[in-house]
């Protein structure tokens, strides 16, 4: 008995192609297979001879091609893996079908039977009972993870029409976006926890009556901090380009 891993990827491709063709046609010729695999007929013919020798294919020159029972078993296995991988790539990961097709071909030959079985079981679960609910949950999960999956944006490069100033130097009513927090240690940590992070919008509200702590608005709440701490926060001011 041939196990998948005993059969070379090329052989798997042949067997799978024949399997697929069998589902469509009654009689399969060498040129059909060549068309399916995008190869020349003589090459296909030669390879079919080798497959026949291994007992995976039943084929006589100039006659139709048929899978042997052993070949059919292997082909079905490969085809199943391909289908499951494609479904995983498109349904779950949301990859487009063309890429999925290509990646599935690449993965299916090298994937271990254990992983394949687990994946098959998982997709079985995904498609079971209430597929809509499962997928929807995952959709939400993905959306919410969007930020984590995305690569970090590079710090905004200063440009000529961009006005950058320290948070401590802003005027009441001015708004902007935090560009960087140049602070280390506990101060930085506290600022982080309170949500003073890069890319965040801030509005300067006021200075305290005695001039020192300032009040800002960030993430929908009001925060006060000293100028010495605020001077470590760099802000890109809004509307500076128009000035």
């Amino acid at each position: 008995m041939s196990e998948l891993q005993d059969v070379s990827p090329v052989t798997q491709d042949y067997l799978e192609a024949i399997y697929r063709l069998q589902l469509q046609k009654r009689v399969i010729r060498v040129r059909d297979i060549a068309g399916e695999l995008g190869l020349k007929a003589p090459t296909v013919s030669e390879n079919l001879r080798l497959l026949a020798e291994r007992g995976l294919v039943e084929h006589e020159r100039y006659e139709d091609v048929r899978l042997s029972p052993e070949g059919a078993r292997v082909a079905q296995q490969v085809h199943n893996s391909h289908r499951i991988l494609c479904s995983f790539l498109t349904d779950v990961l949301g990859v487009d079908s063309e890429t999925a097709e290509k990646d599935a071909c690449a993965i299916e030959h090298n994937i271990s039977p254990i992983t394949m079985n687990r994946l098959a079981a998982f997709m079985g679960y995904v498609h079971s009972e209430d597929p809509a609910h499962t997928i929807q949950l995952f959709e939400e999960y993905k959306k919410q993870k969007r930020d984590a999956f995305q690569t970090r944006p590079a710090p905004v490069k200063p440009s000529a029409d961009m006005k950058i100033c320290k948070l401590s130097e802003m005027k009441p009513g001015e708004e902007g976006e935090i560009r960087a927090v140049h602070e280390t240690g506990p101060i930085r940590k506290r600022l982080m926890e309170m949500g003073v992070l890069r890319g965040e919008r801030v509005r300067f509200i006021r200075e305290a009556p005695l001039g020192d702590p300032i009040e800002i608005r960030i993430r929908g709440y009001n925060l006060s901090l000293r100028k010495s701490e605020a001077s470590a926060v760099e802000v890109i001011l809004d509307g500076a380009a128009n000035n």
Partner: protein, 742 residues
């Protein structure tokens, strides 16, 4: 550091020691879940204490002080067939071991492993509040989120799909209105479901920190596997993340583990790699991802229309924190607070005084002449009465302090005053303990736990006793009222101001000598203004009153008895028989005007002589030489000595000492008259007030300083420096006053 918990009260019952269900309870209870330990957790100002009070119906056991929640409160609640032990933890923004409060919360969660955590979040500030929730999720404890203030949110046009939010984060969300008790029953139902694992919403949805970080977390996790005992306690992922974040507690725990060095090495390698690849320090990486996670979830589930309440808050702030108006408004508010405390307070004071006098008279009539009557009437009723009379002042003052806290004005006070606090080397937050200090130094010192840095804390602890507490107020009222009748309020205000000024000077001095180094960052939320609930304000006031009454009933009662005894014994003194004989002779003869004057003179002389030679008098004599340069005698010395027990006692001691010669009319008015006739000058009275302001904090405060500093040396230092300072300032004031012929 984990043992910092030892200083906390351990909850009475934890699940690992399930207790049999109460006998009175009829329904059969499954023994396994009859008891649930439930912890309330959330950002400061999210309404935790409100939910706690509503949940527990009655108030919590009075094991702490009003104001900032710093100690762990607990209470028991019955719900359906479960008994909850509810624990109210201090408010925190995060679960890292950064401030003392965070350390308390962190170690509580890790060591006590409560059955369920109720995370109270403020819907009107969801994003910031949910940051803590992500850390709770990471910790993996069974959690329910109470979406508190949902009524306020609705008014502000904030609509939260709490069901969806719960499914996204894998923890159930229950909308609540803490102060009206809405949603609490459902909250407890959900808590039971979560604790018993029957909630269908609960999933583990850890924050994904992105590929690079996750990889490094996995690497550190691998190394942590060498320490299964730690994994058992804290969980692998949590340890790895907190190691990467360089959490103090976790690093210490790991470092003291036999496999520690290898784990720390792996952490360092991972941290170095991440910092070089991502060009960002690791704590902010984690913070960014957590906020990203939260924002994603909030974006999906929250719809906002207008920020109405914020606008009202902004309008109020535009006035009360105005550049020019802010400070005057604040000072005016403080003035109003004191004026109300003293002026309104006089009315009920009169009633209480009347009641005490009547009670004394009745007791004197019932009891036979002798030792017992002396003890009860002169000792107990007189002594305790002269203290209990100040209850109205304390109630009014605490009413204002609670009002400031509940409305949110307290945070503005810190905002306005930070500049000043900063110049004395302190944090604006130190202002809150300082203001609390006006009420009582004990909660003030407890409130210093909001300060993150140890030297900030120590400094605040050392100088906050200079804030004149309500216990000292009776002394001022007595002395200022007696010697500066027309300007009593001004003098008292001056004493308070002197306390503040000294705090500034001493603060600067200590900051420059004892505590060199930087103060902690001032990063403080200015919560939106809220209309305070009368109930919650009254609750604070009642707590305060209860503590005061209890103090009167215990420490002060005991002190007055001791004082009376040491003043009354021994009865004999050199020449006592002679005077007694003369009195007897005079009394035997017919009563005439000449006679009665002579009789009074002799009686007074007898009492004075007796006191002078009593134990108390001898004790006072020991102190007197120190006080003589300020025109104070042994009576004041004795009063100050007894005042160490509790400063109110200064008044009751003066009462016993000065009224000993007069006939038994123990009203304040008679004491005032006695004081006026005692030969004390206004200058000496000023010096006396100054000394009372500064010298040794009372026993309660000393105890709390010892507990909070954890150091006998600092406690001793606090006592010594305050005595020396009291003498120096008292002496100076006395001589300045003399220049003005007072």
């Amino acid at each position: 550091m984990m043992n910092s918990l030892n200083t906390l009260r351990t909850p009475v019952s934890l699940t690992d020691t399930p207790q049999p269900p109460p006998v009175a309870h009829e329904t059969a209870v499954s023994a396994k879940h009859a008891q649930l330990t439930c912890v309330l957790l959330g950002n400061p100002n999210a309404g935790k204490t409100c939910i706690f009070n509503s949940l527990t119906g009655s108030r919590q056991r009075v094991a702490n002080y009003p104001g900032v929640t710093v100690s762990v409160k607990e209470s028991t609640v019955r719900h359906a067939d479960h008994t909850f032990t509810v624990i109210d933890l201090p408010g925190t923004y995060s679960l890292s071991a950064y401030s003392i409060e965070e350390m308390i919360v962190q170690s509580y969660l890790l060591d006590q492993k409560p059955d369920v955590v109720i995370n109270v979040v403020d819907v009107t500030n969801l994003e910031r509040n949910l940051y803590l929730t992500t850390q709770l999720i990471e910790l993996g404890l069974p959690t329910v989120v109470a979406l508190n203030m949902s009524d306020e949110a609705r008014n502000q046009g904030i609509a939260v799909d709490h069901d969806k939010l719960g499914r996204l984060l894998g923890v159930p969300f229950v909308p609540t209105v803490g102060n009206r008790g809405i949603g609490l029953s459902e909250l407890l139902d959900t808590a039971v479901a979560v604790a018993e694992g029957t909630s269908d919403i609960v999933r583990r949805v850890p924050v994904n920190y992105g590929e690079d970080v996750e990889q490094q977390i996995a690497l550190v996790e691998q190394r942590i596997e060498a320490a299964p005992d730690l994994i058992e306690r804290y969980g692998k992922r949590w340890l790895a993340i907190h190691l990467l974040e360089k959490d103090k507690t976790v690093c210490e725990v790991i470092a003291s583990h036999p496999k520690g060095p290898a784990i720390l090495a792996a952490r360092d390698a991972a941290a170095q790699y991440l910092e070089s690849v991502l060009q960002e320090d690791i704590p902010s990486l984690f913070a960014e991802r957590r906020y990203g996670f939260v924002r994603g979830a909030v974006r999906e589930t929250v719809r906002m229309s207008v920020e109405q309440n914020i606008k009202i808050s902004d309008v109020i702030d535009a006035v009360v924190t105005h550049r020019l108006l802010g400070l005057p408004i604040f000072i005016a508010f403080l003035w109003l607070m004191f004026k109300a405390t003293f002026s309104f307070g006089e009315i009920p004071m009169g009633w209480i005084e009347f009641g005490v006098r009547r009670f004394g008279a009745v007791a004197a009539g019932v009891l036979p002449e002798g030792f017992l009557r002396g003890l009860v009437v002169d000792g107990v009723i007189n002594g305790v009465g002269s203290v209990i009379i100040f209850l109205p002042n304390i109630l009014i003052l605490f009413f204002f302090i609670s009002l400031m806290e509940d409305t949110g004005y307290m945070a503005r006070a810190a905002f306005i005053m930070d500049r000043v606090m900063h110049t004395l080397g302190l944090h604006g937050k130190s202002f809150i303990p300082m203001v609390m200090g006006f009420g009582c130094n004990v909660p003030a010192i407890l409130a210093t736990r909001t300060l993150e840095n140890r030297s900030d804390r120590l400094l605040t602890i050392l100088i906050s006793p200079l804030m004149s507490c309500t216990a000292r107020l009776p002394v001022y009222i007595l002395l200022a009222g007696t010697f500066f009748a027309a300007h009593a309020t001004l003098v008292i205000f001056g004493i308070y101001a002197l306390g503040i000024a000294l705090a500034i000077l001493v603060g600067q001095l200590f900051r420059r000598t004892l505590f060199r180094g930087e103060a902690m960052p001032f990063v403080m939320e200015l919560p939106p203004y809220r209309i305070p609930l009368l109930r919650s304000v009254l609750l604070h006031v009642w707590d305060r009153a209860y503590l005061f009454i209890r103090k009167v009933g215990t420490v002060i009662l005991l002190a007055t008895i001791v004082i009376w005894v040491i003043c009354s014994f021994p009865k004999q003194f050199p020449g006592s028989e002679n005077i007694r004989e003369s009195i007897r002779q005079l009394e035997a003869t017919a009563v005439s005007t000449d006679n009665s004057a002579e009789l009074n003179r002799l009686k007074t002389e007898f009492a004075e002589q007796q006191l002078r030679y009593s134990f108390a008098g001898r004790l006072g004599e020991q102190v007197a030489p120190i006080l003589r340069p300020m025109g104070l005698g042994w009576k004041e010395g004795l009063a100050l000595l007894t005042g160490i027990a509790a400063k109110e006692t200064v008044v009751s001691t003066l009462g016993v000492l000065y009224q000993a010669g007069a006939d038994a009319d123990e009203s304040s008015e008679s004491l005032r008259a006695a004081l006026r006739n005692s030969g004390l000058t206004p200058a000496s009275a000023l010096a006396m007030m100054v000394i009372v302001l500064i010298y040794v904090p009372c026993l309660g405060t000393i105890t709390i300083i010892r507990r909070e500093t954890g150091s006998r040396r600092w406690t001793l230092f606090a006592v010594t420096y305050s005595c020396v300072l009291a003498w120096v300032v008292g002496f100076t004031i006395y001589h300045i006053a003399r220049l003005f012929n007072l």
